[in-house]
């Protein structure tokens, strides 16, 4: 009983901490304003210290909620709605972000974490701008806490206390789900840091060459988390939803994809500004837009305007608040941008259209068009419905038709861009460098046409472009190694390692590009060469799909911690391995869930999902053979590796180059 009482009071304490956090965040947001108004510069320091307090208080609130989940404290409404006593411990903790209220809490928790890290990081590096940066972050925290505490409070209690809770949405009871939302949020919220920097720069007229280098790393970190979150979401959808695919152009997926697209444009155009002092205003515009799309993404999902698996709540009060908050953030940030954007530094000129900076501009053009198209396809049906009552659907087939050509151009730019030098390219040298990769790419495209003549036009084109990009990456790296070995007479392995470590930013980026190529190949393979068969099978029946022979062995009942399942077993006669798809009935849910069975090798996945019995011992079985799916996950891993390499570079490459040059004459 005493333990129960403690648990009850802990939640109250948590709620108190959350309110306190909101107030402290408000102080954090207003301190620099006060400092300015009362001409007391030291007042601004409050916001730096407050950022620690806000994080500590938000954490206490969050931990008290987790405690409520772990101890199954059903006096908390949110716990009742998203957990029950049978739920495994792992998912009890993860249930914190399994619903609307808790996931918003996670958002603000992550935001306060970032704010504290910025506060800690900036004390030495940019102390005079730090209070304003933290104030911007603080006001965002206040905005989110307002929504959480007044309109969707996870600390709300319900009396009488129910004996047991409902359940965590069974779709979400998967390890992929546990990490997908936090990573996505780390990405979304990560873009708040560049946003705060940009706002600060506009307000305090901080010259952009002084801060753009500082946000590069933050933007890359946010981009990395967002990429991982999206990849994990795809992986989760693939394993959990049972339809053999990983990306459905669902509005919720689009909501996370839009900031990714603009974020990708941003990490590229930051480089242009850093190296060539161009695109200052454009970068600020991109920073603001990327963060706005992160907000939009969160709110589209959270407000329930999209009816989709992820939307948990529909509540007009919340919708109005969200709309108002978005409007304020957009108006204020773009308003300041309009007023002050001109005061950023003057642009340098470009020398030639065939220069890396020019190709970066084209990269930005394509990513912007991609993002705007997704935005339109996602919002237009909502707007049309709201304005005229007409209902249309903009679904996956549309996005595939529109986006694939855009992505092909992007990969083509990615193939050529890194070979083109800054300022001005020597066209003859460039042509010579591109010749062999181009021939290899065209050969790959012809090979696809020849071997698989019936395929869609994108198959040879995409393969050709991807292989072209791959050959460029390889030849470019080989050229750098050869040059280094000629100069320094190093053994091959040493030269490779030294080259990569000597210019981590560049080669980190190239490894990311390599990952993109691998993903592109995976998308081509699994998107265009999927084979499937939907059949009814009795034990002993065999089915052949794309050369894979499967024998249905029958179905056995199975008991999980909080579900009963019928587990089918199919033997893959080619390899002797088996796959075990399941039909799960979670105890507190009505509809049964499919759990797919997958046999995965590097070159293909055999993916089986089982629906209902169709009489007797016959079951409806859907067999997919998806080529190259694993390329997508492997490519994701490569991207992360490249990102880590790029982030590990301490200072910009020029210094190490200068160092190399200083060493060379001595040898």
């Amino acid at each position: 009983m005493s333990a129960n009482l403690l648990s009850l009071n802990l939640v109250e304490l948590g709620q108190f901490c959350a309110f306190l956090a909101m107030l402290v965040a408000l102080v954090q947001g207003l301190a620099p304003v006060g400092a300015h108004a009362f001409r007391q510069p030291r007042l601004a320091q409050i916001s730096v210290n407050a950022s620690v307090a806000v994080f500590a208080l938000t954490s206490l609130g969050g931990l008290s909620l987790i405690h409520a989940f772990v101890t199954s404290n059903f006096s908390v409404l949110y716990v009742t709605q998203n957990s029950n006593t049978l739920l495994p411990m792992f998912y009890k903790v993860a249930a914190l972000w399994g619903g609307h209220e808790g996931s918003l809490y996670l958002w603000v928790w992550v935001l306060s974490l970032y704010t504290m890290i910025v506060g800690w990081h900036g004390r030495k590096q940019y102390p005079e701008h730090l209070p304003v940066i933290l104030a911007v972050q603080g006001l965002l925290i206040v905005g989110f806490f307002g929504l959480i505490l007044f309109l969707s409070n996870p600390f709300d209690r319900s009396f009488p206390i129910p004996a047991d809770g409902r359940d965590l949405n069974p779709l979400l009871q998967d390890p992929g789900m546990v990490f997908h939302p936090p990573l996505l949020y780390l990405g979304y919220v990560g873009f708040s840091v560049p946003f705060a920097f940009a706002m600060t720069a506009l307000i305090t007229r901080w010259r952009s060459e002084l801060w753009i280098g500082l946000i590069r790393r933050w933007a890359l970190i946010a981009w990395g988390f967002l990429t991982t979150g999206i990849m994990l979401g795809g992986w989760w959808a693939y394993y959990e939803l049972g339809w053999g695919g990983y990306w459905a152009w669902d509005p919720v997926e689009n909501a996370s994809f839009m900031p990714w697209l603009l974020g990708t444009a941003l990490v590229h155009s930051i480089t242009v500004q850093d190296r060539r002092r161009m695109l200052h205003a454009w970068n600020i515009f991109l920073v603001i837009s990327t963060f706005s799309l992160s907000l939009l993404g969160t709110f589209l999902v959270r407000s329930g305007v999209l009816s989709s698996v992820h939307a948990f709540a529909v509540d007009p009060g919340r919708g109005a608040y969200i709309l108002a908050f978005m409007t304020i953030v957009l108006t204020v940030s773009f308003g300041i941008f309009m007023l002050r954007g001109r005061f950023q530094q003057a642009e340098e000129a470009i020398t030639s259209f065939m220069s890396r900076e020019s190709l970066f501009v084209w990269n930005n053009v394509m990513f912007t068009v991609a993002c705007a198209s997704v935005l339109l396809g996602t919002l237009y049906p909502l707007a049309l419905d709201a304005l005229s009552g007409q209902k249309i659907t903009v679904g996956a087939p549309y996005f595939n038709i529109v986006m694939v050509p855009i992505f092909l151009v992007i990969v083509l730019l990615m193939a050529i861009g890194p070979l083109v030098p800054w300022r001005k390219a020597n066209l003859e040298r460039l042509r010579a460098r591109l010749l062999w990769p181009l021939i290899i790419g065209i050969a790959a495209a012809l090979a696809v046409i020849f071997i698989l003549p019936a395929s869609h036009w994108t198959a040879p084109v995409a393969t050709g472009i991807a292989i072209f990009a791959l050959s460029n990456l390889i030849t470019e790296f080989a050229r750098a190694i050869r040059q280094r070995r000629l100069q320094l007479k190093e053994p091959l392995a040493r030269a490779c390692i030294k080259t990569v470590l000597g210019n981590r930013r560049h080669y980190g980026g190239m490894i990311v590009h390599f990952g993109i190529v691998i993903i592109a190949l995976g998308l081509v393979g699994s998107g265009l060469f999927k084979s499937e068969a939907a059949v009814n099978m009795s034990p002993g029946d065999e089915v052949v799909v794309a050369g894979e022979r499967l024998r249905f062995e029958g179905v056995t009942p199975k008991r999980g911690p909080n579900y009963n399942a019928m587990q089918g077993r199919l033997t893959l006669l080619n390899s002797g391995r088996d796959v075990r798809p399941e039909r799960r009935q979670y105890m507190r849910q009505e509809n049964p869930m499919t759990e797919s069975g997958i046999d995965s090798t590097l070159l293909r996945d055999v993916y089986v999902s089982m629906s209902d019995t169709t009489g007797g011992d016959r079951w409806a079985v859907h067999v997919y053979v998806n080529p190259l799916v694993r390329f997508i996950w492997v490519g994701g891993g490569i991207i992360l590796a490249g990102l880590f390499l790029s982030l590990s570079g301490r200072r910009r490459a020029r210094e190490s180059e200068a160092l190399d040059k200083a060493v060379q004459p001595a040898k």
Partner: protein, 149 residues
């Protein structure tokens, strides 16, 4: 339509007696069902939904294929009953026009702005120094000689 059946046969080749093959009707049905939205579901085609409505709609597609209706006829059957909403690909006329035109317009607008941006900032590098004429070269040589002596 015939090549779809052939394709289905090609994918699912019966090997020996115990093997089951996919009903070609089922493949045709799924190919149509892929592009129809389940009206009560959350952004799912009826080919993937477990909802009762989706099941009924799949059954209707099956029956209409059996009755010899074409893909277009089946699509318009559903559009008549549920409106354009049921098409996962928005219609290319009426309210859907904007969605189809927008990417092209966006590409033009953003692309042209990108081009104009670059051209406005385009400054050629300094022209390379003109070659010395023979007389001038002779003058230079003479001047150098004088300097050396």
């Amino acid at each position: 339509m015939r090549h779809l059946i052939l394709l289905a046969l090609f994918i699912v080749v019966p090997v020996f007696a115990a093997s089951v093959t996919e009903d070609p009707l089922e493949r045709q049905m799924l190919d149509i069902a892929k592009d129809l939205r389940c009206a009560v579901c959350q952004n799912q085609p009826i080919s993937e939904s477990n909802a009762d409505l989706a099941r009924d709609m799949r059954q209707i597609v099956r029956e209409q294929i059996k009755a010899g209706k074409s893909r277009e006829e089946i699509m318009s059957y559903f559009v008549d009953r549920y409106g354009d909403y049921v098409l996962l690909n928005p219609p290319k006329s009426g309210p859907g026009t904007i969605v189809w035109l927008a990417p092209i317009v966006l590409l033009l607008v953003v692309g042209i702005s990108g081009f104009v941006f670059l051209r406005n900032r385009l400054k050629p590098t300094l022209p390379s120094a003109p070659k010395l004429s023979k007389e001038d070269a002779a003058l230079v040589r003479a001047a150098r000689k004088q300097e050396n002596t």
